[in-house]
């Protein structure tokens, strides 16, 4: 208990120092709330129009080009800030997969988009037994606190 209280005090003091001790919020441009141009079809390649470093996200645009590498590791970047993501993606986009009670698989809803990397293709009630045994951490991100009638049939 003492350790927790101590840690909380340190965190609180740090936050206060940052809030009141630092100079005013930066005046450098942020990410616009909405991407100003219509996005072309296909995987997004920021480098078609942008160079160097993104405002707001403060990382090179190349980092955010939607290659298979980026799509598989997008969480790493999202945990440092969502503002660049939200310039192009509405909240509904994230919640398609990161869902609470979703009943339709993403690849069923978007059956007309076979090009997209969507989880759970095929009869995944069979294959998930293997993937779940081998790498349950990958399931947990979306299903750890999810009420799904299909889960209930076996996981009681």
């Amino acid at each position: 208990m003492m350790r927790r209280a101590h840690a909380a005090n340190i965190l609180g003091a740090t936050l206060l120092a940052l809030l009141f001790g630092c100079s005013a919020v930066s005046q450098s441009p942020s990410v616009p709330p909405k991407h100003p141009e219509e996005l072309p079809a296909g995987r997004v390649n920021c480098l078609e129009c942008h160079e160097n470093v993104s405002t707001g996200a403060l990382k090179p645009y190349a980092t955010f080009s939607h290659s298979g590498v980026f799509i598989r590791s997008h969480g790493t970047y999202a945990r440092q800030g969502q503002n660049l993501c939200s310039a192009c993606h509405a909240p509904a986009f994230c919640r398609t997969c990161h869902a609470g009670k979703e009943e339709i698989k993403p690849n069923t809803k978007m059956g007309d988009r076979p090009d997209r990397m969507l989880p759970h293709r095929g009869d995944y009630t069979v294959t998930h037994q293997m993937d779940g045994r081998l790498d349950p951490g990958s399931c947990y991100r979306c299903h750890g606190n999810k009420n799904d009638v299909k889960c209930k049939q076996c996981h009681r």
């Binding site: 840690a7 296909g42 969502q82 192009c88 076979p114 779940g132 009420n147 799904d148 996981h155």
Partner: protein
Amino acid sequence: MGIRTAGGILRKNLSPAFIVIVVSLLLPALSAGSAAAGDVNLSSKTYLLGYERELAGGQTDRYAPLYEYLSADAANLGGHPLSMHFYGWGRADLGDQSGTGKTSGEFSSFFLEYQDPHGNAQGKLGRFFLTEGAAMDVIDGVFVKGTSSVGLGVSLYGGVPVEYTILPGAQTADSIYGGRVFYVKSGFAEIGASYLKENGSTSDLDRELYGGDLWVRVAGPVELTAQAYYNDSASEMASQRYAVRIVPGAAFDISAGYEAYNYKGLFRSALNPAFVFPALDNNDKVQTIFGIVDWEFRPAWTLEVSGKNIRHDNSDPGDANRGEVGLRYAYNNKKDVAGISAAFVSADQDENEYQQYRAFASYSPEKLRMTLDGLYTHYKQAINGTNNAYQVVATAGYQVLAALQVSGNLTYTQGPNFENDYAGLVRVSYDLGFSTGGKK
């Protein structure tokens, strides 16, 4: 509806389907009065599914669930850098009961957002999906974040986690709060330290995470990322991930790294029994080494190769290797893609081993769109007397108006669970955007 959600009486008494309908009617009116006409996006997606299931005893149930998904985003409210976002869905069964109750739904997101045009100051109020340091949760609450002129920043959040439980006897958590302090040097590095505290319904479900994250561009196109989270409630590391990525341009991207997690640390607050004993041995630990290459070796042609070595502390389920190779070709101004892929899982235990092959293509002349997607899976160990599974999905759609598309799926499945199964889906998408600019 047999579902416990965190939060108050209002949310428990109002059906999500009802909220979806009310908000869909109110939001255009609200936004028309307060936002510029150019900053409103409305989206309605309606799905009617049709399928049969043979139950024990010879009974056949016929399902026809009708789903309505609504999304509304209004920006520049009142001429200020304020926006409002809504997303939710509802289901009504037109045939036999397909889920928990004849109706269901979810009030997924509804929040007000402030995003300053300068300095990355932002705030959110309402229900939203939060990814910030140790947090990757949906909360009913508030989030604020700001960066100072010297690159130091702080974010804070607090509220009630939006969770659902099927773990017998468990209630959802009462509160969640935390924050992140960070330093960012534009184009070079970002380093952060984060804290998260979730008060579970019992102390067994408490979660207290201390985390660190790092992104650094060490040289030119080479970047390193690191994330590590310690769960003090479980006195265990929850997860850690370290990767190096080289991305010299849009045509080539390669990454490799190491990831690990402890079941006890990561799954401590899980409310789905699939993640707790006896479904899993909570003393197990997973370590993976992974690598992935995405290479557009010719314009429109992309090769993707990935590999993963998964090691468990416990002999059951044991270790495994997964490899995947895929080739894609984009055409018709990138509106269409064709691809083939193969994935192989070799494992210590036969029950975990399988191979999967996939081929797909789309064709979109003018207002038509047709796709075909085939998947074949071979399981090393027979399941329900068979080693093979097949699925073919064919779709066809027509763009009736600029904002209205009607399409349908026909899915055929054969495998351990199905001798011959046909399922249909009709999809009506209506996307109305009074906006210039991109939202997907």
